[in-house]
């Protein structure tokens, strides 16, 4: 069965194809009567406009590309969920690519651009300068989500990573911890660097330095091993800050189930993100909540606001969720 086009509708009503197009676009010049007839015929025939043809003509696809580095980190499904829903409400569609391990944005972005997506959201480690130029030349909007670039040459939406990490460090120190360690994610990500820097900076302010720092690769297993390495060190930490919740869960399980330690009595663990399992009683993780909904909204605003120039780095505040995995005393007024 041949697909029904606007020409079929036109023929059925006895008007020209362009009139159909106008009527369905609710053009003010078309008479009420004609519109009604066309709408009826369209419904009867089961006509729906071909977005591909429309896109070719208007040079606008209403598709947004999303390049995700690690969907398997439980932080991201919520992002994805909100993103598709908000886009759908705006009458837009999402094209998704998950970057396989060992690949970069550069490897997958071009295939997405061939589909002429109107904008691209990237939640990945790095964006090469080559790709940045490419996007700029095409005038394809980009927003980095949960990532940023030092030189502000690209839009980005992040949590206030530094500030939040400073708060974590301060609260831990004020509560009597002195041997602090950190489990990082991937050193080539801005989130890693900012959280690491903020945490360490606050330590120095108190005349302390890290008793250990390990890389967990933003995975549960990676952090599990990292925590064990930390606990084998000369100076055993009394608190570990994991820059992502999924790693905090790994660290927690490592010290509890493998080393038989009590949390928070023997050691405090703090995460970042506030993924669903963080609030489950089995973990009861103290962590920094990222305001996902706000971050997604801001991302889409940056993507579609026509006079968003020059690119900007949006930062939204995180919120410390005090739960049971860290021995924290009441905050000190400042």
């Amino acid at each position: 069965m041949k697909r029904v086009t606007s020409v079929d509708v036109a023929r059925a009503v006895g008007v020209s194809q362009s009139t159909v197009s106008r009527a369905l676009a609710d053009d003010s010049r078309i008479s009420k009567e004609t519109k009604r007839k066309i709408q009826k015929a369209a419904a009867d025939l089961g006509y729906t406009p071909n977005e591909i043809a429309r896109s070719l003509q208007t040079n606008k696809t209403n598709m947004v590309g999303l390049i995700m580095a690690d969907i398997l980190n439980p932080f991201y499904p919520a992002v994805l969920d909100l993103m598709t829903q908000q886009l759908h409400q705006m009458g837009k569609q999402l094209m998704l690519i998950s970057v396989p391990a060992g690949f970069e944005v550069d490897d997958v972005l071009p295939s997405m651009l061939q589909y002429q997506v109107d904008g691209v959201v990237i939640t990945s480690a790095v964006l090469s300068s080559h790709m940045r130029d490419l996007l700029q030349n095409r005038r394809t909007r980009v927003v980095l989500f949960n990532r940023s670039l030092e030189d502000f040459s690209v839009n980005s939406v992040c949590c206030e990573n530094r500030a939040a990490s400073i708060e974590v460090a301060r609260r831990l120190i004020n509560s009597g911890h002195r041997r602090l360690a950190i489990i990082g994610g991937r050193p080539d990500t801005s989130t890693h660097r900012e959280r690491y820097a903020g945490f360490e900076e606050e330590l120095r302010l108190h005349g302390l330095e890290l008793v250990g720092d390990e890389i967990g690769g933003n995975t549960y297993d990676g952090a599990y091993e990292a925590a064990l390495r930390l606990m084998k060190g000369r100076r055993k930490p009394d608190a570990i800050f994991c820059i992502a919740d999924v790693m905090a869960l790994g660290a927690l399980d490592a010290v509890r189930s493998k080393l038989g330690m009590k949390v928070p009595d023997d050691i405090s663990i703090v995460g970042f993100d506030d993924i669903p399992p963080a609030s489950w009683p089995a973990y009861d993780l103290t962590t920094v909540r990222q305001p996902i909904r706000a971050m997604v909204s801001r991302t889409l605003s940056l993507l579609f606001d026509p006079d968003n120039f020059p690119p900007m780095a949006v930062q939204v505040p995180g919120k410390l969720m005090v739960r049971g995995s860290a021995r924290l005393s009441a905050p000190v007024a400042t």
Copy 2:
């Protein structure tokens, strides 16, 4: 800067536009020399074919639509990850929609079809007969993932839900459990019905019946409450089968942290899916593993195999992962 088209490449080389098109499609009739020149010019100018225009002409977009009911169930991110990667390898793209709570496939599918996706994968509760007809008329392939229809009118890929659930029941009964209960997901899904039926059937075979059955809505919180309701019943279960891991985690936390029970000493909990947290020491959940990779591969085969007709219901075996959350004795030879 205007986007560079095949016409620009043609002009640069001094050939016709169609020659460019052929050269880039590696048409055998074009001379080596011309091809080389065209490829060079294309690279120099940064030309990449416009997939939208190509799609309009070929009536084939190489896009697959994926409609996901609950991305927030930790079972699905792995599916998504594999799906995008396998598609990308095939040179295809994925268009994703997450169905918001309170909406149905019918509400989102049409907007996807306007983009002329070549096929649709659905992991949702129900597919109305109206939509089924629509898809059939358009000759748009559909595969239900982790869902099936009784009448086999649509392709589907599922785990052997019944068989696996029967095995769970048998193992529990053979290990001495007598008061079995179940926490279901959503009664309007095939997975719910099949797992429920298999489990109950095996019980009856042993002259037992469920001491309780509750609905957990496929969420952690829902199952947490459901478990508490079960334990308030007249006959308290000594084993609970949760038809999805995310619910098993909720049930586990409920009986452990809220009721202070020991697992598996006081009660056995078994799940279904084998999501990552299931194997974490904090849960150590006995569950049925769904072979996601195989399921995704089969799904894409069904979608693209040209002579896949009539529709078929593919079933792949699950695998019982025996861990610590259920008191199971060694399997009895049959």
